[in-house]
Amino acid sequence: MAFSIYDFTSFNQSIDKLLYDSLPPFWALIIEMTIIGVVFLLFYAVVGLFLVYAERKVCAFMQNRVGPNRVGPYGIFQTIADFIKLLMKELIYIKNADKLLFNLAPFIVIIASFMAISAVPFAKGLHAIDFDIGILYVIAVSSLGVVGILLAGWSSNNKYSLIGAMRSGAQIVSYELSVGLSLVTIIILAGTMQFSAIVEGQANGWFIFKGHIPAFIAFVVFLIASTAETNRGPFDLAEAESELTAGFHTEYSGIKFAFFFLAEYMNMFLVASIAATVFLGGWMPFHVSGWGGFNAVMDFIPPLIWYFGKTAFIIFLMMWFKWTFPRLRIDQLLTLEWKYLLPINLVNILVMAFMVLMGWHF
């Protein structure tokens, strides 16, 4: 069983082979799926806990504070303590709420982000499924989350929740366009929708460098639109705590609230990893064509570190947005999309297509 931190293909294949050799194919498939499910669950739990902690520390440092520092050294167990607290909280049932939808909503939100992450490659050969239409799949699945938010707002029987949910609906319907189109820009450049092929295509230079200005513009647009899609930062209108107290999750308590809370961070992780994969080369090390020695040093750093480093960088950017900017108003939010991002995006695609046609990229 060859194990290497640079290439997981053989490692995964050997597990696959082992299972299929010793079990009937049906059970082997079931076990494989279970393993992947458990791995993702654990991964998400760790990522969620870590991101909540990171967000608190980042915002604390931006605000001249020290942030959580009581539970464990530097407060690293703070989120675990909070999680336990949330587990023990009472689940309050709302009178006249639509029970089924009310209970279903948090799961939909979580599941949507779960489904999307499965297509993302973490390192060479380390991804759950490698669709040929990976990007399309991710765009389609990640927008399911809004259904959960809409249901939560509707079923809570609370006007604040409803306003929040409606805002969220309008917001995601609009920004989904920009997310899609900015990814299309890169698809044109890469010529494929498969994540693994996109990453391989960046072996001799990340797309953000390869695609010159159009790729950079697409990156910025994607960053803005995906921040909006995750209901974060200056676009957190759906929860806008100074206007709607807590927006769509006003009536949720305990662990159901924790689901929404975690889903926000997981969505953030998801869009950050897509941005890292599509624009910044995913797990691909930083290469400059012609610099053999430099490239060798870069190759020495394991792809997982590259991947998480890039994702962390984008997550940091999104946190930086959130803790700097005031919130937009709903009509300005839509103006930003329809008047600025969308036209820019469309022109950008044209430019990119023209560039690819003329072969003006690296």
Binding site: F61, W320, T324, F325
Partner: protein, 160 residues
Amino acid sequence: MNSFFQYFADIFNGVKSLLTGMKVTGRYFFSPWEIVTQQYPENRKTLKMYDRFKGEVIMPHTANNEHRCTGCGICETNCPNGSIEIIQDKIDMPDGKKKRIIDKHIYHLSMCTFCGLCIKTCPSDALAWGQEFEHAVFDRTKLTKILNKPGSSILKDISE
């Protein structure tokens, strides 16, 4: 045409103002020495309150357990919310006259608004501000304090 340029000028100025804002938060993020948080229970040892700090009203006593209060009751009348109750006592002086002394100077910390009128108006400067600020207790009755210590007496030069 003008509005066309205006469109791009808007984008440019907007992005510039956003970056200016990000510069501020980014600068503080990378300058942890500007952190202002005081870590309260840990810094208890070094925490020093200003000497004028109004923590509570106290009655300073000398080493011989003597205070300066004559029991005149002026602080009681001046207190705007009845936080002070004076219980007087009479003792027989050697020359046969009766003399008023303080029996109990009762101070309700829970009602005090720290206006300072009692301290300001006391004719014999018997009261002062204490710097104690950790007043949280589980039982409200603990906030009712008797300021003159048991067995204390009035300073000689005040009583004359």
